[in-house]
C-alpha cells in the first residue's frame, strides 16, 4: 500500500478502515539466506538494503522485543554529518545524503528536518578545533559556517550572552544538520523491508549461535533453531552478550545515557544546539517538547535508566546557557544502553568466524548513522567485502593502533 496525502483523505472519508498492516507477523522459517540479530534501526536498515540493493529477500530479522525498541526509539534524534576524521567524514556524509531522500525512498514520513545544528565554542582553542572540523566537512562537499558571537546572537538571541560561565565566542553552523522522528525511521525501514519479503520476527530472542568448522550455520532462538550461512550481529548495547555466544569478547563497555523531554511548548527553539562545555544539547520536537540530553552517567550499565547527578548537571548546563527554558517542566527522563568503544567510533566488520558479521559500537551517536550503517553492513553481508565507506570501522583497529578517535579519548575505555 502506497501512502500519500490523497490516501489519507480517502481513507479518512471511509472511516480509516482500509489501511493495511505496516508489516506482517511471519512465523520463523527453518532456514534463511541470512539472519540479522537485532530489530533496531541498524538491523532494520541492513535488512532493507540487503533486499533493496542486493536482492537478498530470503532473510529474517530476529528481535527479542519489539521492532525499534532499542536506542532508535529512545534517542534525541539528531542527524548531522560533521565529523572531521577521514573515514568518518565520508561515512556520515553519505548517511546524511541517504537521510535527505529517506521519505521518498521509504514512502514513510520520517520527518527529517534540516533545522540547522549549531555547535557553540567558548575559547580560541575550541574555535580552532571547530574550524578544523568545519574545513574537513567542506573539503568533502558538506556544509559548514563559522559564526562569531554576533552571528550566534542573531540566530539564537535567547542564549545568555552576558553572564554564562563559559562566554559564547561563536559557533559552527551545520545548516543541513537537524533532527528526525526516531520511531518513524525504524518503522519506515521495517515496512520497506517487509514489503520486499523480509521476515521481521518479534519476540524472538537469539539464545545461541551455531558454528561448525569455523563457519556459522545458524542460530538458536526462543522460537526454535533457524539455519543460515550468514548472520549479522547488530545488537547495539547488547552486542557483548550476542558476541559472547560466538565466543568473542568485544572492545565495548555498555553505558547508560539519559535524555529528557519537557511538556509541549509553543515553538521557542528552532535549531539543534550543542553546548560542548556543558555536555548539553537541545532541540524542540514538532510536538513542542524540548528534547535534550547530556553526557553518559559514567558507569557500566544495562539498566536503561540513570541517576540524579547527571540529570542535575544537564539541567544546570541548560540554565547557564539558556535560562529562558527554566520554567519548562521535564516530563520524562529515560536512558539507553550505549555500546561504547574505546575510540568512540563504530565497528562494521567480519569476525574470525566465516559468515558471521558484526555492526556495533555506535556509542551515543548511532541514530544519524542508521541509513549508512545498513548500507555498508548489507554490502558486507551480501558480498563478504568491506564497503569503501566503512573501511576504517575495523574490529581489530585497537590491536593495530589504527584508531578513529574524534574526541581524542584514545584507545582506553571510559575516557569519553
Amino acid at each position: 500500500m502506497r501512502y500519500s496525502g490523497l490516501k489519507v483523505i480517502t481513507e479518512g472519508l471511509f472511516g480509516n478502515k482500509g489501511w493495511k498492516p505496516a508489516w506482517r507477523n511471519p512465523a520463523p522459517k527453518a532456514e534463511y539466506d541470512a539472519i540479522i540479530i537485532g530489530g533496531g534501526g541498524h538491523g532494520l536498515s541492513t535488512a532493507y538494503y540487503l533486499a533493496k540493493n542486493h536482492g537478498m529477500t530470503n532473510i529474517a530479522v530476529l528481535e527479542k522485543g519489539y521492532l525499534g525498541g532499542g536506542n532508535v526509539g529512545r534517542n534525541t534524534t539528531i542527524v548531522r554529518a560533521n565529523y572531521f576524521l577521514p573515514g568518518n567524514t565520508e561515512f556520515y556524509s553519505h548517511s546524511l545524503k541517504l537521510w535527505e531522500g529517506l521519505e521518498s525512498e521509504l514512502n514513510y514520513n520520517v520527518m527529517h528536518s534540516q533545522r540547522g545544528l549549531i555547535n557553540l565554542f567558548h575559547s580560541d582553542g575550541q574555535r580552532d578545533a571547530f574550524a578544523r572540523r568545519g574545513n574537513a566537512m567542506i573539503n568533502h562537499g558538506d556544509d559548514a559556517v563559522l559564526l562569531d558571537r554576533d552571528g550566534v546572537r542573531e540566530m539564537l538571541p535567547y542564549l545568555d550572552f552576558e553572564q554564562t560561565r563559559f562566554p559564547i565566542y561563536g559557533g559552527l553552523l551545520h545548516a543541513r544538520g537537524g533532527s528526525a522522528r526516531h520511531d518513524a525511521v525504524a518503522w519506515g525501514y521495517a515496512r520497506g523491508a517487509d514489503m520486499r519479503g523480509v521476515d521481521l520476527i518479534q519476540n524472538c530472542e537469539v539464545t545461541g549461535i551455531d558454528i561448525e568448522n569455523g563457519k556459522v550455520v545458524g542460530v538458536q532462538t526462543t522460537r526454535g533453531a533457524i539455519k543460515a550461512k550468514k548472520v549479522g550481529m547488530i545488537a547495539a548495547g547488547r552486542s557483548g552478550q550476542v558476541a559472547a555466544m560466538a565466543g568473542m569478547r568485544l572492545p565495548i563497555e555498555s553505558h547508560v545515557l539519559q535524555a529528557f523531554v519537557t511538556e509541549g511548548l509553543k515553538p521557542v527553539i528552532d535549531h539543534v544546539i550543542s553546548f560542548g562545555m556543558g555536555h548539553f544539547y537541545i532541540s524542540q520536537s514538532d510536538k513542542g517538547g524540548l528534547v535534550f540530553g547530556g553526557d553518559l552517567d559514567f558507569y557500566a550499565s544495562y539498566a536503561a535508566r540513570g541517576n540524579l547527578p547527571m540529570v542535575e548537571h544537564v539541567m544546570e548546563a541548560g540554565m547557564t546557557l539558556m535560562p529562558m527554558i527554566g520554567r519548562a517542566k521535564v516530563l520524562r527522563s529515560w536512558g539507553g544502553i550505549m555500546d561504547m568503544t574505546p575510540d568512540g567510533s563504530p565497528i562494521i566488520d567480519k569476525t574470525h568466524i566465516e559468515g558471521l558479521y558484526i555492526d556495533c559500537g555506535w556509542n551515543y551517536g548511532g541514530f544519524k548513522a542508521v541509513p549508512a550503517s545498513g548500507w555498508c553492513m548489507s554490502h558486507l553481508m551480501a558480498t563478504d567485502t568491506t564497503h569503501e565507506l566503512a573501511k576504517r570501522f575495523r574490529l581489530d583497529r585497537f590491536a593495530t593502533g589504527h584508531l578513529l578517535d574524534e574526541e581524542g579519548t584514545g584507545s582506553q575505555h571510559n575516557q569519553h
Binding site: L250, P251, S254, Y299, S301, A303, P342, F398
Partner: protein
Amino acid sequence: MRLTCPLCGSRDRREFYYYGADTYLNRPAPDAPMAAWDDYLHLRDNPAGVTRDLWYHEQGCAQWLKVTRNTVTHEISAVELVAGPAAGGKGASE
C-alpha cells in the same frame, strides 16, 4: 546513587570518578605479546550482571576502589580498596 567508601563511608556518586572494569589492574608484563595488551586495554566481558569495576574517590580520600556491582540492577555488593592490605607491586617491573 551512592557508594560506601571503605574509608569515608556512604557518599554521593558525585564524589567519585569511574574508570571501568577492574581488568585495568591486571597489567601485562612489558614484553607480553601485543594480544595480551589488546586484551588488557580493549577487550571486555561487559557482563549484564555482576561486574567488578574501578572507582576513584576523587573528592574524598583519593583512593581507588574496586566495586562489585550489578550492571542490571545497580546493586552494589562490595567495595574494597585497590591498594588494600593484599595489594602488591605487581605490574610495575624493574
